[in-house]
Symmetry: C2
Amino acid sequence: MDRRVRRTRELLRRALVDLILERGYDRLTVQDIIDRADVGRSTFYAHYTDKDDLLLSGMEDLARAFEEHMERHFATRGHPNPVLAVFQHADQQRDLYKALAGKRGAEVMRAGLRRRIGEVGARRIHGFLPDQDVALPREVTLEFLLSALLGLLIWWLDDDLPYTPEQMADMYMRLAVPSVRTVYGI
Amino acid sequence: MDRRVRRTRELLRRALVDLILERGYDRLTVQDIIDRADVGRSTFYAHYTDKDDLLLSGMEDLARAFEEHMERHFATRGHPNPVLAVFQHADQQRDLYKALAGKRGAEVMRAGLRRRIGEVGARRIHGFLPDQDVALPREVTLEFLLSALLGLLIWWLDDDLPYTPEQMADMYMRLAVPSVRTVYGI
DNA sequence: ATTGTGCTGAACAATGTGTTCGGATGAGCG
DNA sequence: CGCTCATCCGAACACATTGTTCAGCACAAT
C-alpha cells in the first residue's frame, strides 16, 4: 500500500509548485495547498509537519537531481564547465527552479541552492587558484563569483530572458575569468 | 502633540531592529514587537497597517540616508567611487543594514536595497560602457556586477568580517574591473 | 484650567495552525 | 474472491495571531 503514499506526496508537491508560481510562497496557507491538491487536512499533517517541511522535501529532490546532473556532465564532457551545467539544469527544470529559487520562492531555498552550487564551485576554485595568500583571500573571490552566478541565474529564470544556457554560461565566464586571471596572475 | 508620535515610532522601530537581529523577521509577531517596545496594541495599528508597513517605513528612512550619503560622497571626493560609498554607509549603519538586508531580514528589503543601489550603478555604467552592442548586453553586465556587490556586502555584514570598507571596495573593484575592460575593450 | 490629540488595554470576530479520532476505502495478499 | 490493515478523509477541537473597536486615561499646548 505504498502507491497511495507516493501519489499523495506527488499531488502535494505539484500543488505547492503551482501555487508558488501563481502567488508566491509567503502568501500560501496549508489550506490552499490541500485544496489545490484535493487532499485531506489530516493527511497533509501525516506526511509533513509543516508548509516548510513540504518545501524542504521538494528541495531535496531537486538537490539529488542536481548532483546527478553534475556527475553526468563531468563524466561526459572532455572539458567540463560547471557553470554551463548549472544553467542547463535550471533550464531543464525551469518551473521547479523558478518555484524554489525564484523571487516568489522562499529564502530557505535560495540559501540551499547557493550552498550546493557553492560546494561545487569551491572545489573547482581550490583547484585553480594558488594557495599562497595574495591581495585577495580566496573566500572573497568565491563569494563574489557565487553571488554573481546566482544573481544571473535567478534573474534569467524569473524574467524569462531569451538567452540559451550556453549563452548565459559564456557571458558569465567572460565577466568572471579575466579579472580572476589578473588578480591571481595566471 | 507630535513628540509622543515620534517617540512611539522610534520605540517601535528600535524594537523591530533588535528583534530581527535576535530572531529574524519571519518569526516575529506584532505582539512581540509591541511588547518589546512597550506600546499598546491599538497604538501600533494607529501608526502602521502591518508588520510589513513598519518595516517599509524603516527602509524609507534608510533610503533617504543612503541618498544623502551618496550625494555627500560625490560632492566631496575628487574621484568618487560609489562602491566605496556603499560599503562605508553600510559600515556606519551596520545594525540597521543587517536587520533590513541581512539574512535574518525580509526579502522585500533586500529587493529594495538592490533596486536603489542598482539605480546608482546603472547611471555609472551607462556613462562608462560603449553604447553599441558588443557580445555582452549591458543589462547582463549590470546584473552581474550588482549581484556580486550585494552578495559581498551582505556576506561582509552578516559574518562580521574584519575587512574595512576600503578593503572591501578595493577587492570588489579588482574582481570587477579587469573583466569589464576586457569585454568592452576599454 | 481647559481642550484635544494621542495612548491604553480589554474585548471581539476572523483566519490559520496543528491535533485527534471515528469511519470509509481500496491495495495487497492468501 | 474476500479479508485485513495501511492510508485517507473530514469534522471538531484548542490555540495563536491578526486587525478593529471603544471607553477611558494622560499629558501637551494654549
